[in-house]
Symmetry: C2
Subunit: 263 residues, 2 copies
């Protein structure tokens, strides 16, 4: 489980100028045009979002469709193709981690009947790798493959607490987004919370994302002791004490870490 | 749920000559070098598998790493990166279908305690989108994101039975791979089996992939009545009658179809 750390302070959807040659750069901008908010696009949308002429966009879209990276339906709407999904399934930090962790996450979900989440850090954000919705559990906002801030969620606080110092300073040095009246946006208070996460081995996010939810997260370590992911339970606020949930989440996180390290 | 039909008779990992411009073509060949069998590659492996000079491979690998499509670890091994997994998660026929179907698949898995599989057709092969391993169920060979022949499995027989005629003739006109002494490799017998699948609404694959397993598959339809996926139960051979399993699988497949059509 290695990670390439991108030092650019730009948000990830932004292009890094000069990072790619002219042709590959334009091709990657075509792929970047597709996002969770905009998964289905017309030629004109792609050209505008990629900032390239329509003729160039048309040629690149055709090439991506022939390869299977994108798919075009009968009314001319382009979507991400199955072949890109297949290639993405080879990412060790995506499907590889999810396949290994899934039996443990299902156990935790069946025992608690609550929401279980698995996430990794990418730059200064959380990426959700798996999410199992509990029967009748509180609704959660996350989707698999989706991103969220590191500062507000159970998994995010774990991943930020164990991130390199420069990532922490980058995140805490910028304005911190509030989602509810309870979201902690004060950098000093967050620094104390992160120290608590490292000391106690779990995180608590109370009503920080939605007022009706509480999440408790714990770190997943690889064989070298590096934090590579985090697991959390998300429950209805008031239904359980975070300190009662923490041993459950930590036990599951350690079982996954153990499975990771004997790979 | 559209699909771009590639008419090339080449296996999907092969390059379609002239399908892409020179730069994008080389770049896509770099990505093609990564496969389920070979998910972690050195620069020299990539250059050899892509058929391009090492200097070109090096430049393209660097560009893909900067973008996040690939990741390079500290000893110089390249793997598929999280950003490609994120982009792949936008494929409607991949994670989109899987997210929608997962609650139904989990119900089927918990009720039967057997293996549940979800697959789509890509060209002349099955691609597995989800797989839930039953507690103590018979081991299965498939992995999420993996491919298999259309001719031998429960899901494959369903997808082949409802494929366009030219796909059926392409598959049945070529030598059919045998996996066990029970694999049906005779095209005429397979044609009869496919007709039975269309008549009865489910498929049966008995000991065709491994001698200890049996699978029963049923089709998932979109709002226009097109078969877009298949679901199956895989159980230990001899533990249950396929005709007892069929109503279960068909009920689950229809529930998923219903959920798909109200999207």
């Amino acid at each position: 489980m290695s990670r390439t750390r991108r030092r650019s302070p730009l948000p990830h959807r932004g292009r890094v100028p000069g990072a790619t040659g002219p042709v590959l750069g334009r091709a990657l901008r075509v792929l970047e045009a597709f996002s969770p908010d905009r998964p289905a696009l017309r030629l004109s949308d792609v050209a505008r979002r990629a900032g390239i002429p329509a003729a160039t966009a048309h040629r690149l879209l055709r090439e991506f469709c022939e390869w299977g990276a994108l798919e075009r339906d009968e009314v001319g709407i382009y979507r991400v193709g199955l072949r890109l999904w297949e290639l993405g399934s080879l990412a060790p930090r995506g499907l590889g981690l999810r396949e290994l962790a899934l039996p443990f996450l299902e156990d935790l979900s069946q025992i608690t009947r609550e929401n279980v989440q698995l996430a990794v850090r990418e730059g200064t954000e959380v990426v959700y790798i798996e999410r199992i919705a509990g029967t009748g559990a509180v609704p959660v906002l996350t989707r698999v493959g989706g991103r969220f801030a590191l500062t507000a969620t159970g998994v995010g606080l774990v991943l930020l607490a164990h991130a390199p110092a420069e990532v922490q300073e980058d995140v805490l040095g910028r304005p911190i987004e509030g989602y509810t009246s309870e979201t902690v946006t004060d950098p000093d208070r967050l620094r104390h919370m992160l120290a608590d996460v490292r000391t106690h081995g779990f995180s608590i996010s109370e009503r920080q994302v939605t007022l009706d939810a509480l999440s408790v997260g714990a770190p997943i370590l690889d064989s070298r002791g590096q934090v590579v992911a985090a697991v959390s339970l998300v429950v209805r606020y008031g239904s359980a004490s975070p300190h009662a949930l923490a041993p459950l989440v930590m036990t599951s996180a350690r079982a996954i870490s153990r499975a990771l390290s004997i790979l």
